[in-house]
């Protein structure tokens, strides 16, 4: 009988061997691929969650669970109260939550009972990133909690900011000049344009002016011999200008419904601009226009003189007109020009550099700077020009923001999510 314990012992030895083999060689799990670098998703760290998914704060037997309840676009604070980990009636509990946000804004939220919980009296604006102070009063005892709840907050010291080429500026009032860029053509001033037709049909005896000749008022243009007028009659210029059209040659028969000369006074020319539909409402007579001749000469300024009451059916455009002084005749009718119309020139209370804008979660944001801390602020934008953009909401005058290389801050805030997927 003494064999059996012995054999058992040996079996154990064999088993131990196999176990060791197995444990050493095969159950070695992939464990810790050192290349993997865990990136903390939130800077806030771990906390206890309550049954409603919120943060559970406890002080002795008193417990309160704070959760931000998102209902569609807006969100509110809800608080559930516990006594010895058991839910209790929230009536009679005084609760106040103070949110300290980056940039100095402080939200004070008071709570009132509603059903089995307390509800905050104001909406919580995005971003939900703040230092939270909770003061509760229950059964005559005070409870105080403090915690940080940051979202997308980035810390960069001065050295890092400089190295990354980040520039910080202060939001404030600015003049925003909105412009509309339009294509147009130079046309003669139609008020100073004459189309000459012979009074009587006849044979042209002589022609005295050529295309492009300057003419004075009353100057002889051509002589026509007509059967109706019975003797040759003279065709004279009615106003001073330049011959811009001529369809008459000596010996030719001209009829009285044919235009033979077009004479325009080119001291002023018109710029006919095509305005596209989205810009209709923004144009007014009198707005300033910068016209680029497109041939290297400097642009000149004028104003909108006329807006057509009708539109063009095929292009769905509207005609706008500006008058250009043309002392040296360098604006030649028929040529194209581009014009920049200043449609508004307004002082706005808060504006930021357009290079500050980034997009985050399908909205525009500006990164607020407060010391070494940076945080995205969703902004509602108004008017803009090439350099500046009006901020209607989300940022107040005097707040500092990232004006240049704001992408770096966005990248830093979002880097925990950056991954290399194949």
């Amino acid at each position: 009988m003494s064999r059996s314990p012995n054999r058992r012992g040996r079996c154990v030895a064999v088993a131990a061997v196999s176990l060791l083999w197995l444990s050493a060689a095969l159950s070695c799990s992939g464990g810790d691929p050192s290349s993997e670098r865990a990136a903390a998703a939130s800077t806030t760290g771990e906390f206890r969650t309550g049954p409603h998914g919120g943060r559970l704060l406890e002080d002795g037997s008193f417990g309160v669970e704070l959760s931000i309840y998102e209902k569609g676009v807006s969100s509110e604070y809800r608080a559930y109260v516990f006594e010895d980990a058991e839910p209790r009636d929230p009536a009679g509990i005084e609760l106040e939550v103070t949110l300290h946000r980056l940039g100095g804004r402080v939200d004070r939220i008071r709570f009132a009972p509603r059903g089995d919980h307390l509800v905050g009296d104001q909406e919580i604006d995005e971003p939900h990133s703040f230092d939270v102070e909770v003061a509760a009063r229950a059964d005559g005892r005070e409870h105080h909690f403090e915690f940080a709840s940051y979202e997308g907050r980035v810390e960069l010291d001065a050295e890092q900011v400089a190295a990354a080429g980040i520039e910080i500026a202060t939001a404030g009032p600015a003049t925003i000049r909105e412009t509309v860029l339009l294509n147009g053509r130079i046309t003669p001033d139609e008020d100073r344009l004459v189309h000459l037709m012979p009074r009587f049909p006849g044979v042209v005896r002589s022609v005295h002016k050529r295309l492009g000749d300057a003419v004075a008022a009353g100057e002889l243009l051509a002589v026509i011999e007509s059967n109706e007028s019975l003797h040759p009659y003279e065709l004279r210029a009615r106003l001073p200008g330049t011959v811009i059209g001529k369809e008459i040659s000596p010996g030719e028969f001209v009829s009285s419904d044919r235009e033979v000369f077009a004479i325009a006074d080119l001291a002023n020319v018109w710029l006919a601009l095509d305005v596209y539909r989205p810009d209709f409402g923004r144009l007014r007579v009198g707005q300033r226009v910068r016209v680029d001749p497109g041939d290297g000469r400097p642009p000149i300024e004028t104003t909108i003189a006329y807006l057509s009451p009708t539109g063009a059916a095929n292009t769905q455009t509207l005609l706008a007109r500006a008058v250009l002084a043309n002392p040296d005749r360098s604006w030649r009718p028929g040529l194209f020009a581009t014009a920049e119309v200043e449609v508004s020139d307004e002082e706005v209370p808060v504006a930021v550099a357009t290079s500050a804008l980034q997009r985050l979660r399908d909205g525009d944001v500006v990164f607020l700077a407060d010391g070494d801390l940076f945080e995205a602020r969703p902004v509602e934008l108004g008017r803009r020009d090439a350099e500046r953009v009006e901020v209607r909401a989300g940022l107040t005058a005097g707040q500092r923001y990232v004006a240049r290389n704001s992408f770096v801050v966005k990248a830093e805030a979002g880097k925990s999510g950056a991954s290399h997927d194949h």
């Binding site: 196999s18 060689a25 070695c28 810790d32 194949h422």
Partner: protein, 1057 residues
């Protein structure tokens, strides 16, 4: 049988020596044939299909290219699975075949299917097969750069476009033909293009559309052949050249006419060299460069090929213009040479130590020398075997070779021969004549040959389970197991043929066997200890059991690591940025990253590939950068012994403060493997399959949230499939209808204006450059300009235009236009970053690692929670994957194979002794031997790994070997009629020397390895540590516990008997 072999070797000793020499020569020749690489190749059999889709967003790429390609591949023979990735401008389908499929066969199959599918793809889209290379293929990288102040032919400083042109047309064509090179891939700089950039207002002014411009260029840039004519017996070819020769000719192309006045390209557009819309960039030490990567053909010898490439580059450098240099930035030869140096060092040190130990303990230099000879001989024979079996030499296979173990068998035989020879001499008082000497050697060999042969065979068997591993583990460890098996087998053969023959030949004359002082001292104290131990067997056993339990407890709590990471010396560094990061921004960020790393004293240089190269072997978005940090040789470091981990920490510290980057550290080859295998690299992964990307994204996020809450979960990540900023130009169909415009016409304008359109090519000798029409750069990026893009209206609309437009004089526009903004809404949003598919279905991966918990229970719990917590809509499903799959399959195999191997070992032991009891006795030594190994690992803080496991295997071999030798000797003494105690004492004291010798040889031989920091150290360190620690406990066991156990077992048997 063995005896016959020994007798034969002794009789034909010269022949045996000659044969050995021949075999050694064959081995030496094989070494030159051996493909030597740094690490084992773990790439699966795969074919990459890359399809470029210029300008297409991920969704379009997937819909129009990836899907048809993938569908066409279904049902290929030996297909394992397909996966695909659709990114901006690129579709990559990877077809993975079963292991063992011939790569050329696989490529041919894929090629055939691609020909069938090409009709279904959009015009001009051409799928291409990736290079015929494995993860070890990227053997050589170089940069093309200009020296400061160097100027090109026109006297301008070299820019990245002209450097890229040199790379594409001078460097690459030469390297491509180097034997063994399958591809040279370029990244960085800009491919030269000729840009024709029309100003929209001029198009409007002349009434011309983008299409008119494209057509005009296409019609005016063609050479035509017109056959031949015969003239006076001569055949004359007719040719009508029309290709534009230079930029001026392009400028003179006529686009339209106005009343007989031609409008030339020059009137409406700028013409000049421009930059492509590139998908990748490269930097070196903070500067933008052009980078080339040489891919080695599958199965080539990386050392030979990279040497050829380096030689070719020397030549290329001479052909480059002055001031432009091609510089090597990564050369696999370095790593391979270091691998070889490690093996060489092991060989030499091992041999020296073995000689020293043998000389000290045997007191006979000749014997020591001939035993040590076994090491190089076994090595050469191993090379021969490896070359025949096409196993590559690398850090795993050669670095883990254990020379102490190889000579063990020979040591035992030589020791016994010497002892017997000197005994015989003393007995007779004269040197032995040859015949007697042969007899003594034969007898002495026979006496110990069975135990030593069986000992080696047992070690061989323990390695067999490793051959049962499959997949990545299999590819990683097979070469090692095969090499060790070859080496042991060679040593085994040598110890029964060459060793006795050499002993007989070399140990003529007086055999000196001096018991050294150390040994005499050792023997005296051993006798004392053994007596005490035999007197108090119970306390010995209790102590042994306690030790065992303690070490088991420690072992169960030690860290684990499945696949050791082989140190390649250099660091590869993924810099990851948020999706949507532009290439320019990424280059800027990489610049500061590289200069920060460059300041470390150990770093030689750094270079980076950002985004995707010309051949998309690794399709990365611009937000991902593959950085390489190349180290100086260790001798140039401030502290040459600094561990790699510290260095990585230093690098991390240097770059951690740079905002906007997150990092992953790996190594160049490892990184390439990861890219190619691209399975999920985390422990577990949930793959969600389905149709709608948005639904998949939400499901992925929900599952990630649930996974993160399961205890033990770490690094939970959901694949980023969204987040790519997208400017969407939504066309208003009603507005289009009002203007009589077709959707396509408007799309084309946007495509040409922003994306650019290749209108033809310009030839400069052999070089050819695309002629691209697109908006001037300043307008392309301007949303306002995009909104004002002129869309030409159809001709019939013009007539009523002239009627209604008030101004009567002056020309009316030749053609009416509307701005894009009038028919489309521009909005910026985010779209899919990439679309991944697996086996023909869209997929999102949620990955997680598991810490402090076994994966099986984690998966079970997570699965339950997901089932409860996530409502998976119909048509969507989830599967589990990740490393744990491989782990499970490996465990299942090993659960069968390991017990089988153990059984086999036991059977062999039982066969040796003809007794189960003795077999078990010897077997019981294994766990005790392991206690020392575990303790040693624990003390040095090294985790359990396969490499440590190999150490345990070797250790078991030594333990069994010593046990067998000891027990069989004692048994022999008892057969001579001695009593148990007497036989035990005499046997144990006689075997002290061989036991100590094998122990010392094995452990001292490993000391350099245990302390090593050179290439291969991470494989060798755990192994050497285990063996050294284990040898101590194993020797103690063999010498003390084994005799005690033997006596207990034997006395009981006898009492019962």
């Amino acid at each position: 049988m063995l005896e016959a072999v020994i007798r034969f070797s002794l009789r034909r000793r010269w022949a045996v020596m000659g044969l050995t020499l021949l075999a050694a020569a064959a081995g030496a020749w094989s070494f030159t044939q051996l493909s030597i690489d740094a690490v084992p190749d773990i790439t699966n059999v795969q074919v990459q299909i890359n399809t470029e889709a210029p300008g297409s967003s991920p969704l379009e790429t997937e819909q129009r290219i990836t899907f048809p390609v993938e569908t066409a591949l279904a049902g290929l023979p030996r297909l394992s699975y397909t996966r695909s990735l659709s990114r901006y401008g690129l579709s990559q389908v990877t077809v993975v075949f079963e292991d063992g499929t011939d790569i050329y066969f696989a490529r041919q199959l894929v090629g055939e299917r691609l020909r069938e599918v090409s009709a279904k793809l959009p015009p001009g889209i051409e799928p291409e097969l990736g290079p015929i290379a494995t993860g070890l293929g990227e053997i050589f990288m170089f940069t093309v750069s200009a020296e400061p102040g160097a100027q090109d032919a026109d006297g301008r400083p070299w820019d990245s476009t002209s450097l890229r042109t040199l790379q594409d047309w001078v460097v690459k064509p030469q390297l491509r033909n180097v034997p063994g090179v399958t591809e040279v891939n370029s990244i960085g700089g800009y491919v030269k293009e000729i840009h024709i950039t029309p100003r929209p207002e001029r198009l409007i002014a002349y009434g011309l559309s983008f299409r008119d411009l494209l057509d005009a260029i296409a019609r005016n840039n063609r050479n035509v052949g017109a056959g031949y004519i015969e003239r006076n017996g001569e055949q004359v070819l007719v040719r009508v050249p029309g290709q534009v020769a230079d930029l001026d000719e392009i400028r003179r192309i006529v686009v339209g006419h106005h009343a007989g006045t031609p409008v030339h390209v020059a009137e409406i557009a700028e013409v000049g060299p421009g930059r492509e819309l590139r998908t990748g960039a490269a930097t070196e030490n903070g500067e933008e460069v052009v980078l080339g990567t040489v891919f080695m053909l599958i199965g080539e010898n990386s050392r030979a090929v990279s040497r050829r490439v380096a030689a070719k580059l020397e030549e290329v450098n001479r052909t480059l213009p002055e001031g432009v240099v091609v510089k090597t930035v990564y050369d696999r030869t370095n790593l391979v040479d270091r691998t070889i140096a490690t093996v060489e060092k092991n060989l030499v040190e091992g041999a020296l130590l073995v000689i020293a130990v043998l000389f000290l303990l045997l007191g006979n230099a000749r014997a020591a020398f001939l035993t040590a000879l076994v090491i190089p001989l076994a090595m050469l024979l191993t090379f021969a075997g490896m070359a025949r079996a096409r196993v590559s030499g690398n850090l795993m296979s050669l670095g883990a070779l254990d020379f102490g173990l190889i000579v063990d068998g020979a040591v035992i035989i030589v020791e016994n021969c010497i002892r017997r020879l000197s005994e015989a001499q003393q007995e007779r008082g004269r040197p032995l004549p040859l015949a007697e000497r042969l007899d003594v050697v034969a007898d002495a060999t026979r006496q110990v040959v069975r135990p030593s042969v069986f000992g080696v065979m047992i070690i061989l068997i323990v390695y067999v389970p490793i051959l049962a591993l499959s997949g990545v583990e299999g590819k990683m460890f097979h070469p090692m197991a095969i090499t060790v098996i070859f080496a042991l087998f060679a040593a085994l053969v040598l110890s029964v043929t060459f060793v006795p023959a050499a002993v007989a030949l070399l140990l003529g004359g007086r055999v000196v066997e001096r018991e050294s002082v150390i040994l005499r001292q050792a023997r005296r104290s051993y006798a004392w200890t053994l007596d005490r131990a035999l007197r108090w067997p119970a306390s010995v056993l209790v102590a042994a059991v306690l030790l065992l339990v303690a070490s088991l407890a420690i072992g169960s709590r030690m860290g684990r690591e499945f696949i050791p990471s082989l140190d390649e010396g250099d660091i590869a560094l993924h810099a990851l940025r948020i999706p949507g990061t532009s290439l320019t921004q990424a280059v800027e960020m990489q610049r500061s990253l590289e200069s920060a790393i460059g300041r470390l004293p150990e770093v030689s240089h750094t270079f980076t590939k950002i985004g995707t190269a010309e051949v998309a072997t690794d399709p990365m978005p611009p937000s991902v950068a593959d950085g390489f940090v190349i180290m100086k040789p260790r001798s140039e470091w401030p502290d040459p012994r600094k561990p790699k981990a510290d260095l990585v920490r230093d690098v991390e510290a240097a770059i951690d403060r740079l905002p906007g980057n997150s990092y992953e550290f790996t190594q160049p080859i490892e990184m390439r493997f990861n890219e190619l295998i691209a399975g999920v690299r985390s422990d577990v992964a949930v793959k969600v399959f389905g149709d709608d990307l948005e639904v998949l994204r939400i499901l992925g996020e929900e599952i990630a949230e649930i996974l993160a809450r399961v205890p033990g979960a770490a690094d939970v990540k959901s694949e980023q499939i969204a987040g790519l900023p997208l400017l969407e130009i939504d066309l208003d169909r009603a507005a289009l209808a009002r203007f009589g415009l077709s959707l396509e016409a408007v799309q084309e304008v946007v495509q040409v204006a922003i994306g650019g359109w290749v209108a033809g090519q310009v030839f400069e000798g052999d070089r050819r450059f695309d002629l691209v029409v697109r908006l001037p750069e300043d307008l392309r990026a301007d949303f306002g300009a995009i909104e004002r893009l002129p869309i030409a209206l159809a001709a019939e609309a013009q007539t009523d235009a002239s009627r209604l437009h008030p101004p009567r004089a002056g020309p009316t526009p030749a053609r009416a236009f509307v701005p894009l903004g009038a028919v489309a809404d521009l909005s910026i949003g985010t779209g899919p970053n990439q679309v991944s598919r697996e086996n023909g279905k869209r997929r999102v991966v949620v990955s997680a690692n598991v810490r402090d918990r076994d994966i099986g229970s984690f998966v079970a719990e997570a699965e339950q929670r997901i089932r409860d917590g996530v409502a998976v809509p119909s048509g969507y499903w989830t599967t589990w994957g990740g490393q744990f799959e491989q782990l499970e399959s490996a465990s299942r195999r090993l659960q069968v194979v390991v017990p089988l191997a153990l059984l086999l070992i036991f059977a062999i032991l039982a066969g040796v002794f003809g007794s189960f009891r003795h077999a078990l006795l010897v077997f019981s030594g294994v766990p005790l031997a392991w206690t020392g190994g575990i303790l040693a690992l624990w003390l040095r803080g090294i985790p359990l790994s396969i490499s440590a496991g190999v150490g345990f295997i070797a250790l078991s071999g030594v333990a069994v070997l010593n046990g067998v030798v000891m027990i069989s000797f004692v048994n022999a003494l008892r057969r001579e009629g001695k009593g148990v105690s007497e036989a035990l004492r005499e046997g144990a004291l006689t075997r002290l020397r061989p036991v100590l010798m094998t122990a010392l040889v094995a452990s001292l031989g490993f000391v350099p390895m245990a302390l090593s920091t050179s290439a291969g150290a991470e494989v060798q360190r755990p192994l050497a540590t285990v063996v050294i620690g284990g040898i101590v406990s194993s020797t103690a066991l063999t010498l003390i516990v084994l005799p005690v156990l033997y006596r207990i077992v034997e006395s009981r048997t006898r009492r019962r008997g």
